[in-house]
């Protein structure tokens, strides 16, 4: 029998996959959940791991990596299994795979602010490699000011590429800066779609494994974990995964529940709330605990986090949804009355960061009477937000929605208290040093997209700004009739090489005529077309080739230009950088490779345009996969048709460049 070539390729790929998978299976991993850290204090830590087979668990640890002199013996390590054991045994795991053993070792009697190396053993057999990344650092003593550096992630749990990129971006950024995380906070939705045990293993523990082995993740529960875990009694895969303080053992007051708790890192006090499935009213047990807890803390900084954002217009709307409204109306007054400095949340798949605000509890949220500082908070821009020393009630809060840790991002509208709104994946890195808290939003390409700081000095008295700065409104775009999603550009990738420069010469056809069908191909005779430098347009003073007669006369312009690929260039890395108003379609050698803001058709038959302002900004569009097939050695043709939404529009811009990204 003859096997068709395609099938042959598929078969050999499958065979290879199977061989590789068998290789993995034959070498059964020591851990079904690799070791991770929990519940760090100034004198203790928990190390947790899972195996699928019986072992004699031991943990060796010590300050000297060569001599791990400390020992946690099997009898001091809690072992949890899937089925209920005899009475008095630790609570069974909620829904772990049959045969799972979860080990929870408490290492105590440690020195504060000290780095220890650790290793996990099965009897005499060492299970973790001799690698400096298996380490932990105890917290400083409460109240003692020490630098703190932590990572904030939300809504990440897809196990997809973007989640992985956000994680890698953080690691590379820190490596380049020589910085190490002290802790990691997750604001929920870390295991889509239902926070099952398997989803936790695959979409959280596996994805962040190298970070989790030496950094405690202090988590708040999201609604997706809430499908299988219950805050009321601390049951389910979320509560199997995390060991949260209930008796005030990490600082703060005992909550009696793992669902909400507090912990200290030196002079920074963190409070973590369950905004999903517990009473959010001011009389509820959680709010009562919160009030008591923040009345007691004597920290210099107060940081709160939970899943549902009090202020957002990302993929969720805090003016319309009950959990978000309740967190704003009931919980924010308690937090601000206790002097909270910053609040991190997720749920809404976007990055939104506020100005310095106070008292914004009304529904709907407006900027009236609630903005204390409308600057950008950027030390290199308008300067940091200023607050009084210590925790002073109603002295200003910054809200950060960090629901952009891995899943699809989107935006519904404009939240008027926000200073920065970014619809892209990323995470937030926060440093607290002395009297300054600094934060940066790092996107998935490790580019810093937002920076702000809060500085505390002396006594600062704020009063609300009468007419504060306002974020520009989200442009209303009607939904494409065809049901197609309107493509949105990305920020320009750093360090890209220009194949066609922004100021390159192009051939162009303007004046209301439409070209013949073959105008996008290599062989088309362009000799009758005019020549001009990019960009093309009118009305917004951003055009090198001004199309003075375009307004009220015609709305489409056609441009084309030849280019050659640099030697050894990877065609998959080519993309367009375009500043445009309102829409365009790009072709390479006659094949359509990018369509933005046009629902259907092309040329004179193009239909369904969507409004877009150029704003003198370039957006990046990776080319469709078919572009790779259309490219050839030697000369290629890039052809672009630009369309204005209306013939009487006040401006038009078509300004492209072709990039080769790293």
């Amino acid at each position: 029998m003859t096997i068709p070539p395609l099938l042959k390729t598929t078969c050999s790929a499958t065979a290879l996959l199977l061989i590789m998978l068998q290789a993995v299976r034959a070498e059964q991993p020591a851990f079904s959940r690799a070791p991770y850290l929990q519940l760090a204090t100034d004198s203790s830590i928990r190390i947790v791991w899972r195996t699928e087979r019986a072992i004699t668990p031991l943990v060796r640890y010590g300050k000297d990596p060569v001599k791990l002199t400390g020992l946690a013996k099997a009898e001091n390590i809690i072992k949890r299994v899937t089925a209920t054991g005899e009475s008095g045994s630790p609570p069974p795991l909620h829904s772990a795979p049959e045969g799972t053993r979860q080990f929870e070792a408490t290492i105590s009697g440690l020195e504060p602010e000290t780095v220890y190396r650790y290793a996990i053993f099965d009897g005499k057999k060492r299970l973790t490699p001799d690698d400096p990344s298996y380490r932990f650092k105890t917290h400083p003593l409460p109240g003692i000011p020490r630098p703190l550096y932590f990572w904030v992630v939300g809504d990440s749990g897809t196990a997809g590429l973007n989640q992985a990129k956000v994680h890698t971006a953080m690691r590379e950024y820190n490596k380049a800066k020589g910085a190490q995380l002290d802790l990691y906070i997750h604001v929920g939705d870390m295991a889509y779609g239902s926070g099952t045990d398997t989803q936790f293993s695959e979409r959280f523990f596996k994805m962040y494994e190298p970070t989790l082995r030496n950094t405690v993740c202090w988590a708040a529960m999201g609604n997706h974990e809430g499908k299988t875990s219950k805050g009321a009694d601390g049951s389910g895969p979320f509560y199997d995964a995390y060991i949260c303080p209930t008796t005030g053992e990490a600082g703060g007051l005992p909550s009696g529940k793992e669902a909400y708790y507090s912990f200290d890192f030196g002079s920074v006090h963190f409070v973590v709330l369950d905004s999903h499935d517990l009473d959010r009213k001011p009389g509820g047990a959680m709010a009562q605990w919160l009030k008591a807890d923040i009345e007691k803390t004597k920290a210099e900084w107060l940081i709160a986090y939970f899943h549902h954002p009090p202020y957002t217009k990302g993929s969720h709307d805090s003016d319309k949804e009950s959990q978000l409204i309740e967190m704003r109306e009931h919980i924010m007054p308690i937090l601000e009355g206790g002097g909270v400095d910053i609040v991190f949340t997720g749920h809404s798949h976007i990055y939104e960061r506020s100005m310095l605000i106070n008292g914004a509890y009304a529904t709907p949220t407006t900027a009236k009477g609630v903005i204390l500082d409308d600057g950008d908070g950027d030390p290199d821009g308008d300067g940091p937000y200023l607050k009084s020393k210590g925790l002073v009630p109603h002295n200003g809060t910054v809200q950060v929605v960090a629901g952009h840790g891995g899943t699809n991002v989107s935006r519904k509208g404009t939240m008027p208290i926000m200073r920065r709104i970014l619809v892209e994946n990323g995470s937030v890195l926060v440093s607290v040093k002395g009297n300054t808290l600094s934060a940066t939003m790092l996107n998935l390409n490790a580019t810093v997209r937002d920076s702000f700081a809060i500085k505390k000095e002396g006594i600062i008295e704020h009063s609300p700004i009468q007419d504060p700065w306002q974020p520009s409104a989200k442009k209303e775009t009607k939904k494409p009739e065809s049901g197609k999603v309107i493509k949105e550009g990305k920020p320009l990738p750093p360090g890209a090489q220009r194949i066609i420069d922004h100021s390159a010469q192009w051939r162009y056809l303007a004046g209301g005529n439409h070209p013949p069908k073959n105008w996008t191909t290599l062989n088309f005779n362009q000799s009758s077309w005019k020549q001009g430098a990019a960009g093309f347009g009118y009305g917004d003073k951003d055009d090198r080739t001004e199309l003075a007669g375009m307004k009220d006369k015609y709305r489409s312009v056609y441009i084309r230009r030849a280019f050659k690929l640099p030697d050894g260039a990877n065609p998959a890395k080519i993309g367009l950088a375009v500043s445009y108003d309102d829409a365009f379609i790009a072709y390479i050698n006659g094949k359509e490779v990018c369509r933005v803001g046009v629902d259907s058709g092309s040329g004179k038959d193009a239909k369904g345009f969507h409004s877009h302002e150029a704003d003198k900004k370039f957006e990046f569009f990776p080319l469709d996969k078919k572009a790779i097939g259309a490219l050839q050695d030697g000369v290629n043709i890039l052809a672009i048709e630009g369309h204005n939404i209306k013939v009487n529009s006040s401006d038009f811009t078509l300004h492209p460049a072709l990039l080769l990204v790293k």
């Binding site: 196990a159 994805m207 319309k320």
Partner: protein, 311 residues
């Protein structure tokens, strides 16, 4: 056999899980998706229930209620729908129907844990519909089913005792809860219960110890003043109340106050005999949605002062 490099394994896990990635939508889109599935003949109790939850989140209770009834038509024993319905009906001002739904939730519960939870729900609904005695019985049955209970259950238990004028039983319940859970809320409620029961001597040392370690002291200054007044130390109590009011003025947002602080300020005014200010704060706290127990001490103080005035 050679181990696969870590990065390759990571890529594998991504490749394997990509096809089954869940799509993430906002609340309105979730409703549209559920509707589409329901209308394409795939309706089930779970689908109607899930759409009801989204409607509840979007503050559309009528649609949520309709969906919950639809869910129960598909499966009359679908416990989550009974529970959700009971809470929704109570919020919609239908206490009798809410109690009925909670009883169904008890009947349909699949394990002891669920049953105990449904008992607590029933207790809350009975209390809200003016039947504290029946509520107390239901609450105690829940404790029997799940002996350690939960933080909120102890608070409810004590609240029901207060409604039945059995204040003297409250301290022991709350102390037991504190011992079982370590919750500071139960410890503080225990102190309040001691004060309500007139056991000022037992409360005073705990209050004084607590006061020494606090950053914001208003709520404990109030407790302190109540104990001092109970022990006849009026002058010290007045000084404590003045200090309490001073702190509260800094913490209460003038336009948008935290109602728990308003209730505290009202109580301080009442204990100082400033009845007009106390009544004004009581109105404000109630208008802001304060639950009955949150203003109970303030109301009691106001009624005590009026009794003295009448004498």
């Amino acid at each position: 056999m050679r181990k696969l490099p870590h990065s390759l394994l990571a890529l594998f896990s991504i490749a394997i899980f990509l096809p089954c990635l869940p799509a993430h939508h906002d609340t309105e889109e979730m409703i549209a998706r559920f509707t589409q599935r329901i209308e394409s003949g795939k309706a089930s109790a779970e689908l109607h229930y899930r759409r009801a939850v989204e409607y509840r989140i979007l503050l559309q209770p009528a649609k949520a209620e309709a969906d919950l009834h639809a869910a129960l038509e598909y499966d009359p024993n679908y416990t989550p729908a009974h529970r959700e319905l009971a809470q929704l009906l109570a919020k919609r001002g239908k206490p009798k129907l809410a109690v009925k739904a909670a009883r169904h939730a008890i009947f349909a519960s699949r394990n002891l844990n669920e049953r105990a939870g449904a008992m607590i729900l029933l207790a809350r609904l009975l209390a809200a519909s003016g039947q504290p005695g029946a509520a107390l019985r239901s609450c105690r049955e829940a404790f029997e089913l799940k002996p350690p209970g939960e933080v909120e259950w102890y608070l409810l238990h004590a609240e029901l005792l207060a409604l039945l004028d059995r204040d003297h039983e409250r301290p022991d319940i709350l102390a037991a809860g504190y011992t079982a859970t370590y919750s500071i809320v139960l410890r503080n409620a225990w102190i309040d219960a001691l004060l309500d029961a007139g056991d000022f001597k037992a409360a005073l040392p705990v209050i004084e110890q607590e006061l020494s370690g606090l950053r914001l002291k208003s709520s404990w200054r109030l407790r302190h003043a109540r104990a001092l007044l109970g022990l006849g130390r009026t002058a010290t109590a007045s000084a404590e109340l003045a200090a309490c009011l001073g702190e509260l003025e800094k913490r209460i947002h003038p336009a948008r106050p935290d109602i728990t602080l308003i209730a505290e300020r009202g109580l301080a005014h009442a204990l100082l005999g400033r009845l007009g200010a106390a009544r004004s704060d009581l109105r404000r706290a109630r208008a802001g949605g304060a639950e009955q127990w949150m203003t109970a001490a303030l109301e009691r103080a106001l009624s005590d002062v009026s009794k003295i005035d009448r004498r």
